[in-house]
């Protein structure tokens, strides 16, 4: 039994494509049968369309990559009109990843998504908070709490809050997001990082900072998922550098109900299927009937 129930949504298996790495599912669906996935998370949506960041947007690092896409997206309205109908035909659950720069934007976006048939909303609190000079909502628990509370009060969909590893105290952050009304948590988003071009003598990215993802971050992400899972009693979705069934099982044993796969999709486009079948093999070999048997066992 691979299916998992998270906040009332039944996923056929615990393998979810992560936000920003899978577009709206169309490109990968022309490569393999994405209906085999537990869910697809949309590219990060914002209320208004965004062009994203200028300059270089990607830089490889040992075992990882930095990205500075900057939430380029068509805006929630065009998403609903153009992308969602096509996405629904992909035959899997749809998680809408949504972020805002003000609490007002969060509320407006959620109200629009409420009226659609997305299965779940993933609240991206790693977005820059204009009120606090651009510091992300997801750094201080008290600020995150406010966003989550406001979001929850108007949200008619299951609400999963996506935590940033740059949070001051990830466990307290998780705790406060629960208090704010989160139905589930997902973590981690990318780590705030940078690179410097020594010949140009300045940061590689126009925005200075970029987000680190990929295998490099896995041991830290796993630790955070382990700590958070022990501290809260709502479902946790783990991610950060997963590239193999072994990695995914580690996150499940750390307490995750499901996992998201991001950067790994770039390494091998159908890697989600490898991970899925690897988990099935492991369960057979180890005589595990239901994935929940090993959840949080470590």
């Amino acid at each position: 039994m691979l299916n998992v129930n998270i906040a009332g949504v039944n996923f056929k298996n615990p393998i979810i494509a992560a936000s920003g790495t899978f577009g709206f599912g169309q490109e990968y669906s022309s490569l393999y049968n994405v209906s085999k996935l537990g869910a697809i998370t949309t590219k990060g949506l914002t209320l208004h369309p965004r062009e994203g960041n200028n300059g270089l947007r990607i830089y490889e690092t040992p075992g990882g990559m930095l990205n500075s896409v900057g939430l380029q997206n068509p805006g929630v309205i065009r998403f609903i009109d153009e992308e969602l109908p096509r996405m629904k035909r992909l035959g899997t659950k749809i998680i809408a990843n949504f972020g805002g720069c003000t609490i007002d934007e969060y509320i407006k976006g959620i109200e629009l998504l409420n009226q659609t048939d997305v299965d779940m909303i993933e609240l991206n609190i790693s977005c820059p908070n204009v009120k606090y000079g651009g510091m992300a909502f997801g750094v201080k628990s008290s600020i995150a709490y406010q966003v989550v509370r406001e979001a929850k009060s108007c949200c008619k969909k299951p609400l999963m809050v996506k935590l940033s590893p740059n949070a001051e105290d990830i466990v307290d952050m998780a705790f406060r997001c629960c208090e704010g009304g989160a139905d589930a948590l997902s973590l981690v988003n990318t780590f705030k990082a940078m690179e410097i071009d020594i010949h140009k003598r300045k940061p590689v990215f126009e925005n200075i900072y970029a987000g680190l993802s990929g295998p490099a971050i896995k041991p830290v992400a796993l630790r955070m998922v382990y700590d958070v899972s022990k501290a809260v009693n709502i479902p946790v979705v783990g991610m950060g550098g997963i590239t193999s069934a072994k990695d995914a099982i580690q996150f499940i044993m750390a307490g995750a109900h499901a996992v998201q796969i991001g950067t790994a999709n770039f390494i091998k486009p159908d890697i989600c299927l490898d991970i899925l079948s690897g988990i099935q093999e492991f369960m057979e070999k180890e005589g595990i009937k239901d994935i929940s048997e090993i959840r949080g066992i470590a």
């Binding site: 022309s30 947007r57 295998p215």
Partner: protein, 246 residues
């Protein structure tokens, strides 16, 4: 869409000039000129596949021509016959050979010559001139001779052809259309030149990529029509549409 992810066995991987390799795989491969494949060697280092243009396709073979510039291409160059290579492709929008007519010029800088063999083979133009610039050693030209009517060469040190940059000897005025691939600055210059003479030009852009199929938005090319994905909406763009980074 028509691309595939496959694991292939290297048939040949040869250094044809200093730091320039030609890699070929046996089998049936699809692709139009200007399209590319993402190539990936085994393991997590480097993490991401590398975009490499189709150099040539025969009935039972595909070849790539690449220059070793960093870790990724270094690992590629170490592949030997019989070893595995992961490939994803063909990707992107290539040159629309059906709509390219009349007297055409191809202009390339350095390894920008790579896609031009397959392009010149497939063009249905009345006249085709090749302008190819190199730093010192010249490569990739011989195979193109039978598909081109004239070849102009430059090298920065003057070893072969004219000494200087290829943009210095190129005059677009006598062509109906120009097709260009090379370093960004060289393409920018060529586009400017063509604009002066009002000659249409297509350029093949090189942006750093991750997914290669249009899903991750890291390979943005700014254009007059907004942000475009180099991997999917490109890599071939109309020169006048591109807003240059440099």
């Amino acid at each position: 869409m028509n691309f595939q992810y496959r694991v292939e066995i290297v048939d040949e991987n040869m250094e044809i000039s200093k730091g320039i390799y030609k890699l070929s795989l046996s089998g049936k491969f699809k692709g139009v000129p200007g399209q590319f494949y993402m190539l990936k060697t085994y393991g997590l280092n480097p993490l991401l596949p590398r975009p490499i243009s189709i150099h040539d396709i025969h009935e039972n073979k595909i070849s790539f021509l690449y220059s070793v510039v960093g870790e990724g291409t270094k690992f590629l160059s170490q592949l030997r016959k019989g070893e595995q290579l992961q490939i994803l492709g063909p990707l992107g929008k290539g040159f629309n050979v059906e709509n390219i007519k009349g007297k055409a010029a191809i202009i390339s800088g350095g390894i920008g010559i790579a896609p031009m063999l397959y392009l010149s083979k497939n063009l249905k133009v009345s006249t085709l001139h090749l302008y190819a610039g190199f730093r010192d050693e010249v490569y990739g030209i011989d195979d193109m001779k039978k598909y081109t009517d004239k070849i102009y060469l430059t090298t920065e040190n003057g070893n072969t052809g004219v000494k200087g940059y290829i943009t210095e000897i190129f005059n677009p005025s006598s062509y109906d259309i120009v097709l260009c691939c090379g370093p960004e600055k060289m393409m920018m210059k060529t586009v400017k030149l063509c604009k002066e003479y009002n000659v249409p030009i297509f350029v093949s852009m090189e942006k750093h990529m991750a997914c290669g199929i249009g899903a991750c938005l890291v390979c943005t090319c700014k254009t007059k029509n907004g942000n475009r994905r180099t991997c999917k909406d490109g890599p071939v763009f109309l020169g006048e549409d591109v807003i240059w980074d440099a």
